[in-house]
């Protein structure tokens, strides 16, 4: 890959939530550069979302417990506005209190580029249109949010993040409630942004198999620690996966990538 400074660099981070009994993250490292598609996998509660929050400076580990940097600068040192010009995030959940049209909600992504008092400029509207195009959502532009299907809405949220014109896109379980078609479309979309646009993508997902087929590198977390890290082939071995997910699996290759097939474990007759 490229030899430029990493966009996101988490080095040996240990983090414990205030008042928690154990570490949410222990000695975890991650480096992402432009043009790379990273996936973070792991069971529930393994620290995936915490990793994102630390990496983006939303919480800070105690001194001596590792560093988190964005584009060479400490994550916590970035102003939120400047950071939003580099990193676009599609969080797991967002509220939808007030009805809006698609164009309006994507326009919110231009906030980091707008001056305090200035109005939205033509360049902002163009960025919105381009973002919608890249997400194949331009035909939805004038629809009201609540009329969209789950898959369409996720594409709109992705467009909003792209409207920020970021170098790094962070997606936290973006396909959680999507059907096969929309899920595949989203993964293809993300892959396309990396290949064509030179973006970096960091995706947290439960879909191990799709991550294996689309991601360049995979980080597998278990109990806040790195269980395995590297290319999908090196990470997704039977021993590792069975240990992390506590379930027997078979690993079969498909299209050059390892695919995980959970085995049945019928209960012993009493």
């Amino acid at each position: 890959m490229s030899t430029a400074a990493p966009l996101l660099s988490v080095q040996r981070v240990t983090y414990r939530y205030p008042g928690a009994l154990g570490d949410a993250l222990r000695d975890v490292s991650l480096e992402i550069r432009a043009g790379e598609f990273h996936a973070v996998l792991g069971p529930n509660g393994s620290g995936k979302t915490t990793l994102i929050r630390v990496a983006l400076g939303l919480t800070t580990p105690a001194t001596g417990e590792g560093t988190a940097e964005i584009a060479g600068r400490a994550a916590a040192a970035w102003s939120r506005r400047d950071l939003a010009r580099i990193v676009g995030v599609v969080a797991q959940r967002e509220d939808n209190l007030f009805p809006q049209q698609v164009r309006e909600t994507v326009l919110l992504g231009r906030y980091p580029h707008l001056s305090l008092w200035g109005a939205e400029r033509p360049v902002d509207r163009e960025a919105v249109t381009r973002a919608l195009e890249r997400c194949d959502a331009l035909r939805l532009a004038d629809r009201w949010i609540w009329t969209l299907s789950g898959g369409e809405y996720q594409r709109v949220r992705l467009a909003r993040a792209l409207a920020q014109e970021p170098s790094l896109l962070v997606l936290d379980e973006p396909t959680a409630s999507l059907d096969v078609r929309h899920e595949m479309e989203l993964f293809e979309l993300a892959r396309g942004l990396v290949d064509a646009g030179g973006l970096a993508v960091l995706m947290i997902t439960h879909h191990v198999n799709l991550a294996a087929r689309f991601a360049d590198r995979v980080l597998l977390l278990a109990d806040g620690q790195t269980a395995a890290q590297g290319t999908p082939r090196t990470v997704l071995t039977r021993e590792t996966v069975e240990r992390v997910f506590a379930w027997p699996v078979a690993i079969e290759p498909f299209d050059g990538h390892p695919q995980m097939i959970p085995l049945r474990q019928p209960k012993e007759p009493a």
Binding site: R85, A91, L108, Q164
Partner: protein, 318 residues
């Protein structure tokens, strides 16, 4: 663009009718020379515009802050604090024509600080839901103390203090208008600067942060600025309900949730509503006068219902 012209025309109409109409008959030709018009009606109309506008903007901002469309500026305990301050000023016989407004203002700020402190959870984070609960609690608490003081009091004066609290613009004069006009620009500017981040806040605090908003300072600024506007409004005109609650909803039906347009629209809309309500309050049962808070409810609620039905057809729900 048409919407803004329509709103401006509404405000102009409201101002003109507030100056031309009144319980005392003033001929059209005498308007500019009449003492009643110059010393009473014009300052009162301007005060209605400024107070109504302040309540409209405060209401819209607070509804965005607590992410609850039922929020009203007076839900955060400020009216209770103001009432308690006023009653104490009367009970302690504090002298001076500005004693009552000043005491009410200080009382409102005290309540604001208390609610703010209660709303802080886990260090420096302001939780909007706790803020609402704290506001209701502080309002009830100060209300109880005020009622206790008043019921135990000997003087009829203190019982009349409740009448003041019901809200009215009879204290309007050029002095009052000047004080308010000098005071409100700062909180208004602070809130307008927060308009875009408030749009982001509607998505949730974490999504807003990811989009570049500094959420904790934003919540603090909006809460304090909106409270300061409300405190000033209560100090000069008592508790005028419904304006802060309904005007943002009415303007949202037309301007949507884009706060850079919504806040100025809420200012003009609130001003117009209070102007019309005050004119009705002064004229409808002349020579008597209705408490303006009753009129804002009687006028505002049906207006809202009508607009809601018209726009529900092709428009958004909620």
């Amino acid at each position: 663009m048409r919407r803004w012209l329509g709103l401006a025309a509404l405000v102009a109409l409201a101002l003109v009718s507030a100056v031309v109409l009144g319980p005392a008959h003033v001929a059209l030709g005498d308007l500019t020379s009449s003492e009643i018009v110059r010393s009473l009606r014009v300052p009162r109309a301007l005060l209605a515009l400024l107070v109504g506008g302040s309540l409209g903007v405060a209401g819209a901002s607070l509804q965005a802050l607590v992410r609850n469309p039922l929020a009203d500026p007076f839900l955060l305990g400020l009216s209770g604090g103001a009432g308690l301050g006023a009653v104490l000023a009367i009970a302690l016989h504090v002298a001076g024509p500005w004693a009552l407004p000043l005491a009410a203002f200080v009382g409102a700020l005290g309540a604001m600080a208390l609610v703010y402190r209660l709303g802080l959870v886990g260090g420096a984070q302001l939780d909007p839901r706790v803020l609402l609960l704290a506001g209701v609690a502080v309002g009830a608490f100060t209300g109880a103390i005020t009622t206790a003081i008043v019921s135990l009091a000997e003087a009829a004066d203190l019982r009349n203090a409740f009448l003041w609290l019901w809200g009215g613009l009879s204290g309007a004069s050029w002095d009052t208008v000047l004080v308010i006009a000098v005071y409100i620009p700062v909180p208004l500017v602070v809130l307008y600067a927060a308009a875009r981040p408030l749009d982001l806040l509607a998505l949730g605090e974490e999504p807003a942060t990811h989009l570049g908003a500094d959420v904790e300072p934003l919540k603090r600024r909006v809460y304090i600025a909106a409270s300061m506007l409300t405190a000033a409004a209560v100090a000069v005109s008592g508790v005028i309900g419904f304006v802060g609650l309904i005007v943002p909803h009415i303007t949202r039906l037309v301007w949507g949730h884009h706060h850079r347009a919504l806040l100025p629209a809420a200012f003009l809309g609130g001003g117009a509503l209070l102007l019309f309500a005050d004119t009705v309050a002064r004229v409808s049962v002349a020579p008597r006068e209705l408490p303006v808070g009753i009129v804002t409810a009687l006028v505002g609620v049906p207006l809202f219902a009508v607009l809601l039905r018209r726009w529900m057809g092709g428009g958004p729900r909620g």
